[in-house]
Amino acid sequence: MASPIKTRLRAARNPSRRSTEESPVVKWLLISIALAFCLVFLLLPLLNVFAQAFAKGWRYYLESLYTPDAWAAIRLTLLVAAISVPVNVVFGVAASWAIAKFNFRGKSLLITLIDLPFSVSPVVAGLMFVVLFGLQGFFGKWLDEHNLKIIFAVPGIVLATVFITFPFVARELIPVMQATGAEQEQAALTLGANGWQTFWHVTLPSVKWGLLYGVILCTARAMGEFGAVSVVSGHITGQTDTMPLHVEKLYNEFNGPAAFAVASLLALLALLTLILKSLLEWKEARDLARAQQPAPPDSKAKPQMPARETTR
């Protein structure tokens, strides 16, 4: 991202810059089209959520959030995130340690398999768990005999959510751990630290921002997932409705303001995610710039978060 300083530096070094610039008319026309597009596709949808949520006033807004069903949905969403995010962290840390610090056969296959959930439709993801644990599924009969419920119950929702968010933490951590290399850990071990000490005091501090980044994206996705959860939940009001599913139910009951009230909480979550993410990226760019101080300012220092990794 070209910071103002960087742009100015570049302009100072290239006196002939005019020749590679559009005329002001074209420039502002392009900016206007871009802003108009973002107004229609980003700003209006966001503002509309809150406008509709408060369409019947504050009182109605709060009342639609204080219903037992809305509370149950909020609690379930938080519960699912509280289980699936730590699972993802444990998996992500383990996977990135194995992949970034060691060489072994089948490594690229492993990375491909970890990425797999990105390219599966959420509905198909949910279907896979129905095929395994549903009544007609492989383990359906056994589960039924032992009075265990996975599909149309909380465990199924957690499984589907973990599947959908599976690559998030690992995908963020692998490049960070690769970049730090293994010398510091080896030094710590030589100085007599054991494996866990090395991990807690050497590895974790150096990857903590990448880890946090992954956790933020993972949490947002876990709380907002709709398709996969919708397939396995069974939509039992007050029991297996997460917040997004509750939004859909209220919408189908033609209770628009209440649907938007619950949706507004999810929109706030999205905004919070964006803010934290921007802060982290900004901090990382600053740290990197500081680390590369002696290097020329134009050394393409921006830490890249490729679209692939932030998606889904």
Partner: protein, 279 residues
Amino acid sequence: MKKPANLKGKSNPLPGFGLTLGVTLFFLSVIVLIPFAGLALRTSQLSWADFWRLATTERALAAYRLTFLASFSAAVANAIFGTLLAWVLARYEFPGRRLLDAMVDFPFALPTAVAGLTLANLFAANGWLGRFLVPLGIKGAYTPLGVVIALTFVGMPFVVRTLQPVLENLEREVEEAAATLGASRLRTFAQVILPSLLPAITTGFALAFARAIGEYGSIVFISGNLPFKTEIAPYLIVMRLEEYDYTGAIALAVVLLVFSFILLGIINLLEQWTSRFQH
């Protein structure tokens, strides 16, 4: 990126390889591999004739067609506006640029259900946009156009985020040379800049397309889900499941999966192409 510093497996004294690989493989198996194997096993129990019959009903074909065409249209829209946005963000200074840059990721952060809900409301006859557009004959809610709108929203960040780093790393010298040689700015863009952006734009296009094919949450709200008219393939899978028609759902899911995997392969090739261009 820095290469992992000499990690030749055998002489690597770091501990924890067995433990971490074990944990990784355990979770991978439980969460990803076993569910995939289950679906594959159930599919293999179907005869080819049955599979074909279930996967190619009239209703399914209509749903594939809509899914494919709407996803393609949305990806095209994303390619055009995404290129424009990336260009504006990378090349120009204007008030609010950083805010705009951060907002581009909004569709990734917003739960798809909320996106569908608010877009349906915006484009409905009495919505903020619908009240102007519907009298003009542009119906954005409960129509195939609505599906395209939702998919455009969902896929918007892909092209921008793949193209932005390429644009920022582009050598200005080539443009200067073209200008010095007398090429107009438009000609420089079309013949010098655009060709080097094409791999990234195509990759972003393919990512947006792949995402759109599987999208469900945002569309159920805005499309109206009418069979043969505005019903997408993932929605039909959900319908089959609600009828407890597991085999019907599986057949459709396999078609979607095969299509996703083909796209995934193409995306990997495109990414290799992009990174070759960047070096």
